[in-house]
Symmetry: C2
Subunit: 321 residues, 2 copies
Amino acid sequence: MSPSLVVGLNAVIVAVTDETPRLLTVERAEHGLGVPGADRPALPFGPLDPAGHRTLELGLRDWVREQTGLELGYAEQLYTFGDRHRDPRERAGGPRVISIAYLALVREGRVSGAGRARWRGFYEFLPWEDGRAGRPALIDDVVAPALARWARQAADAKARRARTERADITFGFRGAAFDAERVLERYELLYEAGLVSEAGRDRRGATRAATEKMGEAMALDHRRLMATALGRLRGKLKYRPVIFELVPPTFTLLRLQRVVEALAGARLHKQNFRRLVEKGGLVEGTGVVEPRGVGRPAELFRFRREVLRERRAPGVGLGRR
Amino acid sequence: MSPSLVVGLNAVIVAVTDETPRLLTVERAEHGLGVPGADRPALPFGPLDPAGHRTLELGLRDWVREQTGLELGYAEQLYTFGDRHRDPRERAGGPRVISIAYLALVREGRVSGAGRARWRGFYEFLPWEDGRAGRPALIDDVVAPALARWARQAADAKARRARTERADITFGFRGAAFDAERVLERYELLYEAGLVSEAGRDRRGATRAATEKMGEAMALDHRRLMATALGRLRGKLKYRPVIFELVPPTFTLLRLQRVVEALAGARLHKQNFRRLVEKGGLVEGTGVVEPRGVGRPAELFRFRREVLRERRAPGVGLGRR
DNA sequence: TCCTTTATGCTCTCTCTGAGCATAATAGGC
DNA sequence: GCCTATTATGCTCAGAGAGAGCATAAAGGA
């Protein structure tokens, strides 16, 4: 008999290369034999071994090493997902699966050699989150009308208003402020409105055509984990110097800025970004300039550890969008 | 045979009454027969029922209702703790216990009728976190020398410097900024240095006399969960209007301020606090004044929901300390 | 009436942030 | 060598927000 309860460990592994935030995915043979969507990209996953894994994080590192060949550096716990039927095989008598998700950051230079794993662009799965070229047309062309329809389908006037307000706040409609950190809230709203294909046949306000524009699906609820990770990362950038976990030891300020922009999904003002990180004590010049490339050569900078003593919440800000 | 793996649900239930942040604790007969510290205050706890609990949060609510009679309102997941030997009974063949901790907030008026549970002051367990009367003497008189001793015990000069830097950053020694949110980091440092009694016989830099001044111990790693909760709550106050989950529907601005101060562990400037919440659109006057009390009567205010549309991250700030 | 206490209004300064202008230093085309 | 495109870097200005403190208002009690 299979155990009635499994504690799984999932890793959302993030790197930024070529100004694109990327996610490490694996093929998931074992995770869905005969289950619809079993061929979709999945996050590295493995069950906690209660006897062998001394801590959750060590267990995660073991699984990631085994499945991707990658030795993780920075990792933090994200969230634990435990709703019933997260894994459809539970309906067929499979164990209840509780998944503890971690966010891990990998430096730019180390994205090769991921074994049978594959780096995929974050925004292939969450295309509405990339606002670097201005507010994504997807939001106003596809999301807004679908959510409006979803709101109209509510039972009464009060529920309609609640749905409209929620859509406004999460996507910044009708003058509401768009908050880049609310990635999970946006995904969950899209899910409830039937706009992402993981929501299944219950399509509600959404047409098939609309759903198909909403990015690629992942296995199980892994797109939800991704959304959780991106939201957390965007939030954390603002008050912890995690950005330096994603770049090489030295970097030009423009490269640093592009990495922040890639994650924030927004463009930043170049001179102000420089002022923020330089005057803010986050970085210090090395005196060395990077020769290659057009234009005036840029100085290479490095992270300035002392900032941890000096400032309470050293981070970079995400811009407005 | 006992199962080899249990997923537990723990609740850190917080209320503020009489300007004191409080925690709901229970007696833990079942949780430590013959184990040292079994009589210590504990958090409400119950194992997840894989068949009965549809979501983790619903399972938590069930357990809290059963153990304390309380119907939870606001609740959010905090963190999942899964280190081996969190529960000492694991050493004696007990199951590996993974605990998913939640933070729940209870409104001031609802703290009665907690069944066999008991409200305890937060700072009875974490006395160094209350800086409302100025920097706690405990930090400079007890913590600082003990951590200095702990730093000196490090293997080499490099490790010594690392320990010193860590102590400086977490407690704001030697000119470093004190960050009220780093509650967990402080607790963990105290634990590693053997300054809290949960650390067991391995006392390292700490004398028994010092340890006894460091607040009351809790069962298992529950003080760690408390620290996680307080840190999260302090952080969240700054960018989400969670404070209104802790106060009645109407309140004077001074009462609101006292609740923030109680949680922040710091005093705030009265006029600036008023400006922050009033001009910031977080509250609106009701036109009604509260009669009782000395001094000029104060107007009653209420939370202004519209702020959620208008501002990206509406919160209150914690002051400097 | 005066004093104590709490509420409320307002100002001043400093810092941070958004925005934009201006100049510097390269490479490549001519 | 000169011109242009391109990127780097320095600087200023305006407005928002935060920290601090002064001043006035409205109660109750001596």
